[in-house]
Amino acid sequence: MIDFGYTLTRDRQLDYDRGDFRYLKLVKSLEPSMDLCIGCGSCTATCSAAGFTNFNIRRLHTVIRRGDPESIKAELKKCMFCGKCQLVCPRGVNLRNLILAMNRAIEILG
């Protein structure tokens, strides 16, 4: 192997066909209302943690839907569980439980 002074970059593209949907399956079974998200972002807008850091709950569960759970593992730890998100969701997504479910999924599936 030769070091040319540069390396192959990882493709940012989500390859849905090779996605990891084990997390989605588990999370969905724990909180089916996740399907109802319309991506409005009010959950993130009201989020206590998002006031301090780039934590984005709307994005996190969307990423799980896309089969790309790896990127959320570190992010999810930032949630303070205050529950404001579920109070503002216009679609009645049970967001606090959804976060809990994602945590469970990561706990179970690693």
Binding site: Q13, L14, D17, G39, R59, R65, R66
Partner: protein, 377 residues
Amino acid sequence: MDNTVIVIGGGISGLTAAGMLAQQGLDVTLLEKENETGGHLARWDRLFPDRKKASEVLDFAMEGLNKVKIVTGVAITGISRQDHEFTVSTNLRDSGYGMQDAGYQSPVPSPQSPVPSTQSPVPSPQSQYTASALLVATGFDLFEARKKEEYGYGIYNNVITSADLEEQFKSGRKVLTSEGKTPGRIGFIHCVGSRDEKVGNLYCSKICCVTGVKQAIELKEMFPESEVFNFYMDLRMFDRHFEELYYEAQQKWGVSFIRGRLSECSENPDGSIILKTEDTLTGKPLKMTVDLLVLLSGFVPSGGTRGISKMLGLQEGTDGFINSADQHSQNNLSGIEGVFLAGAIKGPISVSESVADARAAAAQIACYLSSFKVTND
């Protein structure tokens, strides 16, 4: 001024207006370029949001048309006007021409139209019709999906349009891929030919959003195991019960919605289609293989609309659709005395709106012919 009216266009708007006018005792002639009346609706299976059979709506419109003189299969070659009288000249059309003109590439042979045109007198090759009022209801064509070359319609076997899908629904057959397989994953692409500067259409075709949701549900019903994705830019659920249908698609049917416009697609060796889009909600480019891709074609002014518009000198908007005298209060007036507008000639419109608009137009024509002023001038 006598009580004669010519309705140009035998789609749902033209039929509804003609029926209304005839029931008010007016002498109505309806000219239709196709050999059958019914327009787009005749090729559609079910309507949003309640999935009513399109044929039922059409049947309803056809009731009370027995006094209407319906002439089908004619091309209008000229319209002249003397005082209050319009003369419309027609010529017989080559029957095969109409389908191509509509930009409608049907993968399956069109089933027999539900509306037999028994009333049609056999028109002589060249005819003339006169009337005191004209109702132009020449409607729209579906955007020719082939123009979005990168979407591969007409090139990749498993790329179809919403109209193709609707015909398959209407035929009652299972929707299969070109390889004859059950589609495991299906993609719907919204805004094909709409809201797209690159095809010259800045406007929203408005009804494709809910059509995509409706068809997604219908495919999920047909194939509960399949995954259905809608790729959208916005979902404009503008009318009553539409948002609920969207909710139902998510909650009951598990249809997925990805916000991102398809950039391009290509074909796999097995005939499946690779989509490239951005999932704008995660901010990442996304690649996905689907077995069947449905393009939700938008509205464009129909060939008939363009032709009649030129003959009459109607006001065309920048989008090619016809401007009415006033979008708010005189939306059925063309600005030319005695010439009225109804339906999708004025832009994208749903069936229910077309029916209401056609009735409004009929009422205005009746007023006009009884010399009751409905305009401000």
